[in-house]
Amino acid sequence: MKVLRYLVPMALLAAVVAFLGVGLGLNPREVPSPLIGKPAPAFKLARLDDATQTISREDLLGQVWMLNVWASWCAPCREEHPLVIDIARRQLVAVYGLNYKDQVPAAKNWLAGLGNPYRATLVDSDGRVGIDYGVYGVPETFIVDRQGVIRFKHTGPLTPDVLRTRIEPLLKELQRAG
């Protein structure tokens, strides 16, 4: 009985510390997207390289594709860019860019300087499509399956770890599913 008097408060304290510890480890920036498992929102946007041509969501159906949201004013985009280039070079998935709230000349310069991994970059100058995709911190990356359903979202710069542990297994699964 005497032991219990010390053990119970100790256990309570341990529980509180455990909760606080887990809470501190969480990243408040990682807000779960309600779009996972939902059809990718529709869009019809001009291409960065040729403003007379547009690409819509329907044009991309039937393939697994990645949407990488970026902007020339976004410093972390620069940081993740080599990884996006790597994904495109290894042909893991069809990579499309969404140029979010940017100036066309600045965006073109950025790609010319850092390399262009995108099959096409869509110009979202007023950020409307960004809002539809729930974009709140560039860069963001989405993976959409053949049926046009969003399967994955990553907020913030991609890391080799996320690519290896999350994206690559998912792409394998989606591409096998046919």
Binding site: V31, P32, P34, L35, G127, I131, D132, Y133, G134, G137
Partner: protein
């Protein structure tokens, strides 16, 4: 010497009062600064009031502890415009909230809806409070019923309850 010491003590007491007061006033001033919201962008004051009311219920995802009414982040400005446009089109406030949650999740709502995943959020604190109050009541009642001899055996109680002469002297002889 004695007068000087008294003065110093009075000063010390004043500082003790002043410091929290200054802190409180500066906090209040800071809240005033933050309460200033972005200037309305349309001429219709009734619409603007509705936009601000809705925007005050929505969290800015860029600066997570601000509403999109208070924030000047780019995204907050865009979302305010979106709210304004939807309301101008005659859509209801409910529809605006649905639009936002469809894109950003329940996290955008400052008042999250009551559903299975938010039950701990809504009822956790009251339950915790009730449990601790019951625990406190139970403990106090148990102590109340203990015969007085029981308390003398408690070494912690001894140190606090019987101020020895040594402690008296230490407390009174403040020569700083």
């Amino acid at each position: 010497m004695r007068a000087e010491r008294g003065l110093r003590r009075a000063l010390r007491r004043q500082v003790l009062v002043l410091v929290p007061l200054v802190l409180l006033v500066s906090l209040w001033a800071a809240s005033l600064v933050h309460a200033k919201e972005a200037a309305p962008a349309s001429a219709d004051p009734a619409l603007e009031a509705r936009v601000m009311r809705v925007a005050n219920e929505l969290r800015c995802l860029v600066c997570q502890n601000e509403t999109i009414a208070a924030s000047n982040a780019d995204l907050a400005v865009d979302l305010r415009n979106q709210v304004r446009e939807m309301l101008r089109q005659g859509r209801s406030e409910r529809e605006v909230f649905d639009y936002m949650t469809a894109r950003y999740g329940d996290f955008v709502l400052y008042r999250p809806p009551l559903k299975s995943s938010t039950v701990p959020l809504w009822f956790g604190p009251p339950v915790l409070l009730a449990v601790s109050l019951v625990g406190l009541w139970w403990m106090l009642r148990r102590r109340n019923r203990l015969p007085p001899e029981q308390f003398e055996n408690d070494p912690i109680g001894d140190a606090n309850d019987t101020p020895g002469p040594a402690r008296e002297r230490a407390g009174g002889g403040d020569t700083r």
